[in-house]
Amino acid sequence: MTDLAPLRALLDHHVVGHDEVKTALLLALITREHIYVEGPPGTAKTRLAEVAAKGSDLDFFFYQLHRDTRLAELVGDIVLERRRVKTEPTDPAGSGEAERIHQRIEPGGLLTAEVAVLDDISRAPGEALNVLLRILNERRFGAEPIPLMAAIATGNPMDDEYYNEPLDPANLDRFALQLRVTGLIQSGAEDARLLIDRFAAGSVVEQPEPEPVTDRTTLDSLNRRMYEVRIGPAVRAALLDVLRTLVLEFECNETNSLLTDRTFLVKAVKILRGTALLAGRDTVELADLAALSWMTTFRVPPEAHEALPRVIGRVSRQVRAV
């Protein structure tokens, strides 16, 4: 296990179940990718994000998005700077003075945080999210780099019961990792029993404050180690075969999918390396390709996403056979 074992333990301590989301959160912190978790209300989405952020002792920014969200609410205050400048005596009738007024943003919120939790991101209008998500992508605001490591966004399902609009595809693409959660009780999972037992025991104080169990130094060193993880030609070939299958067999294209080069050729490599590192390895193995399904959740048509484990299995067998 890696240096992140304490953080994982902390997540387990605070939230029952949701194994995949927990792993993906750790992966996001190591690879410094953003993560989007979608699920119905009350499924510990926000709680998980919060525990992960606080447990890693990072500067933390939490924002609940709403339908009138403005840029200033996320990036800090808009300030006006006024500077007296000399005027040219354009008006012969009187003495003049002039001020130069410059509008700028006093960095705050997202611009100074290391981890940002963007709650209910799907409630904000798509038009408003654009610049926010570009900041996430480029990790700079204007010319200034920002310290952000990972943004964790949550959202409700895109059904009609919830007053939100599907995220714009370009915006959704900023989140390398995408997961869908269902409630433990709703889905009748094993863990549901555990969850109820825990509260029935009465020994748990609801919503205790998580203590930091890891820190930026650890995460930085993990991030450097991630780049040392080898990803050999076999895994690369398998990855490409999986993608080829999605395009050719499942007919993923520009209108029905977000099979973007940025995500699947650049970020996928990082995610695979991170997955291997989380498993305590220094080489990516074919088994790590399973992590791809955390990238396809909302990027390919549902049937292709569901078929992905099968495709990965088939491709892996073929690659092994060669």
């Binding site: 410094r32 339908r67 009138d68 403005r70 808009i78 005027t87 354009t90 008006d91 009738a93 009187g94 003049g96 003075e97 001020e99 130069r100 007024i101 509008q103 209008p125 798509g126 038009e127 408003a128 654009n130 610049v131 570009r134 992508n137 480029e138 990790r139 700079r140 780099p145 009609d160 609009e165 599907p166 714009d168 595809p169 370009a170 693409d173 991030n223 991630m226 780049y227 690369r236 070939a237 990855l239 490409l240 993608l243 080829r244 395009v247 294209n253 520009e254 209108t255 029905n256 977000l258 973007t260 080069d261 940025r262 995500t263 699947f264 050729l265 650049v266 490599v269 990082k270 048509p301």
Partner: protein
């Protein structure tokens, strides 16, 4: 105006731009076409618009151009709330005492964008059209706040006109400001798996970013170098440069190399092999000298002839494909800009004058100016016109190979006989990427257009005017109504207001949104009599409606019916937003069985009943009398009336339109259409 430069000097200038092109191509794997287009744009001092799906490297390419060219750059990310001061500069507020009262004057001081040589305009269409108007005019005029701009090229990026993006697509008039228009395709979705493998390999070898700057690990985040070389001279641009006979260069410089890669012919001392787009490959002096030299290049008379013929051909073909909508061949673009690009093309390959095949540069202009079919066919049209498949490419860049021997050919078209070079910098035979069409199907041909237009008008009625919404796009100003709105007020007026110097309240943005939503259900008769052409037509109608619904984010339902209703549900719901899936379905319909109106209407109304709000429609496409079920559909009509659902009916075919269709439409304020096959095999549509 450039002094007549010695040949060697001109060769160096061209070489610098070839180097730029090569370095761009290396920055972004598999996007050679775009790299060439951008290089030509900068050389010809034209603006460029890059369009493509997310994550295909638009921004990275634009940023690389800026960094490699050494130009003073300003990047501006467009978003909903962009303001005048972001675009133009700071406000200078001056106060003058004048006969006992104070006079306030507000001026703009040119900001960084107006001082840039290359302006990167990211996500341009994300701003409301109102905000873009003044900026785009400035870009075109290259003159602002009373002074000429140092601007050489503005490179804008924008998302593909995608079904779900909440943007107003740029109008053709706005797009026309960008002479070069490029459409990028992703490697994966474009099927370029070999290139994808190269990119994967490169990523697998990636080492941790040196600094704490995490963006270095993101290919799409390649930042522009903000270093600005001091500018030697301000050139005024935007007008077609006169040909200066004195600047004509002799043909002796021009030589034709073998099919070798120019990569192998790099001159000593030039930077090589660097992936990092952060170091410039040319100085501002070189860049500007090359631009002047390219602009002054002679155009051979036969090139002009060929150009006229090309325009004729394009006009002709575009007229044939008029159904594809707003296309524009403006005088502005196809006179000055086009010819500068043609000159740049010739300059880049080291030719002394623009030959007919330099018209190939026009292909970088067509993405939004010609119907998609014509774009896809552009290379073919040009080849045909030149009478000879111009397989030869730019390997004769004399500029690149000062040592190579001149072959003494005067006729550059004669070079067509030379063997094609696969890795030359301009691959004339490379196909334009297939233009994406919505749902991967060709747009509906002209026959069903009137019907679609009428339907669309009805479906969109009430939502053409956007609703006031605090989360929407700023569409103008209105007086401040309450203090909470101060955050959205005009900054300067808010300031004066706070100081008690403003007589009234400050103006604040009036924000509006097009209300998304509403629902439309399409009921399509697939009974046996619909076989043949009628099936094709009704498929086109369905696709057209789906396209409109997708753009307006309306939920759609699709029910095929014969004696039974066959709803195509997704996730157990009739109404959903899986447009592509329905489009696919609509293309596969087979005609079978008899006609029943009752069942599909009931199904659709049940589906629509759950929803709320106005703007709910049903479109019934049929060719015959109902035989099965309640043929008067009395209950369904009543239900539709009660729910406020508009029932539009379209009757296709030669027979008499069943009166029940009229009743249905009249009772529910729906449209009535009928379509009759014509002798010529077309379809004549009229309102009943």
């Amino acid at each position: 105006m450039a002094p007549p430069a010695p040949d060697r000097r001109v060769a160096d200038l061209a070489a610098a731009f070839v180097e730029l092109r090569t370095a761009l191509g290396r920055t972004l794997i598999g996007q050679d076409d775009a790299a060439t287009g951008l290089t030509l744009a900068l050389l010809a001092e034209q603006h460029a618009y890059l369009e493509g799906p997310p994550g295909c490297g638009k921004s990275a390419l634009a940023a690389a151009l800026a960094a490699l060219s050494g130009a003073r750059t300003h990047t501006l990310v467009f978003h909903r709330d962009i303001r005048e001061t972001d675009l133009l500069g700071d406000v200078l507020l001056s106060r003058h005492r004048h006969r006992g009262h104070e006079r306030l004057r507000r001026e703009l001081i040119p900001g960084p964008l107006l001082q840039a040589e290359i302006a990167l305009l990211e996500d341009l269409p994300r701003s409301p059209g109102e905000a873009l108007g003044p900026l785009l005019r400035i870009l075109a005029e290259r003159h602002a706040l009373g002074q000429p701009l140092p601007l050489e090229s503005a490179v804008a990026t924008g998302p593909l006109e995608q079904v779900e993006a909440p943007i107003d697509p740029l109008e053709p008039g706005q797009l026309d400001r960008f002479a070069v228009q490029l459409r990028l395709t992703g490697l994966l979705t474009g099927g370029l798996f070999d290139e994808a493998a190269v990119l994967l390999e490169r990523e697998a070898a990636r080492v941790p970013p040196r600094s704490a700057d995490p963006s270095a690990a993101d290919s799409a985040g390649a930042p522009a170098a903000a270093t600005a070389a001091p500018r030697s001279a301000v050139i005024s641009t935007g007008t077609p440069n006169r040909l200066e006979p004195g600047e004509r260069r002799s043909g002796s410089r021009r030589r034709r190399g073998g099919p070798s890669s120019e990569l192998g012919n790099r001159q000593p001392g030039e930077p090589r092999g660097a992936f990092s787009p952060r170091s410039a490959v040319m100085s501002t002096t070189t860049r500007n000298a090359a631009q002047r030299a390219a602009a002054a290049l002679r155009i051979e008379p036969r090139t002009i002839d060929a150009y006229h013929r090309l325009l004729d051909r394009l006009r002709q073909r575009s007229a044939d494909n008029s159904a594809s909508g707003d296309r524009l061949m403006s005088d502005r673009s196809f006179s000055s800009a086009a010819l500068r690009l043609v000159r740049a093309h010739a300059f880049l390959r080291g030719a002394p004058a623009a030959a007919p095949r330099d018209l190939g540069a026009i292909r970088y202009m067509v993405a939004h100016r010609l119907p998609e079919e014509v774009q896809a066919d552009f290379d073919h049209i040009l080849e045909e016109l030149l009478g000879d498949p111009p397989k030869v490419t730019m390997t004769e860049t004399g500029a690149q190979m000062p040592g190579a021997q001149s072959q003494g050919d005067d006729d550059s078209d004669g070079a067509a006989a030379a063997s094609p070079a696969s890795d030359s910098w301009i691959d004339d035979k490379a196909d334009l990427p297939a233009p994406p069409t919505l749902f991967g199907k060709p747009p509906a041909p002209a026959q069903v257009d009137p019907l679609l237009r009428a339907l669309v008008g009805r479906i969109e009625r009430g939502r053409i005017d956007p609703d006031t919404d605090p989360g929407g796009q700023p569409r103008g100003y209105r007086p401040l109504r309450d203090l909470d709105e101060l955050i959205d007020a005009d900054v300067i007026e808010a300031l004066l207001f706070a100081e008690g110097r403003l007589p009234g309240a400050p103006r604040t943005f009036e924000r509006k949104r097009r209300s998304a939503g509403g629902a439309v259900a399409v009921l399509r008769d697939i009974s046996a009599s619909m076989a043949g052409r009628l099936t094709v037509w009704s498929s086109q109608v369905v696709l057209g409606i789906l396209r409109v619904a997708a753009r307006r984010r309306m939920r759609v339902g699709y029910v095929e019916f014969h004696h039974r209703a066959l709803p195509h549900e997704v996730g157990g719901r009739l109404l959903h937003r899986s447009y592509s899936r329905l489009a696919e379905q609509a293309g596969q319909a087979k005609a079978v069985g008899q006609t029943n109106y009752e069942a599909p209407l009931r199904t659709a109304l049940e589906g629509l009943r759950g929803g709320s709000g106005r703007n709910r429609h049903i479109v019934l496409l049929t060719d015959g009398l109902p035989i099965i079920g309640d043929t008067t559909v009395r209950r369904e009509r009543q239900l539709a009336h009660r729910l406020g659902v508009a029932l539009h009916t379209v009757f296709l075919g030669n027979g008499d339109c069943p009166p029940v269709l009229d009743d249905i439409s009249l009772e529910t304020a729906g449209l009535r259409f009928c379509g009759r096959p014509t002798a010529g095999g077309g379809l004549r549509l009229e309102e009943r």
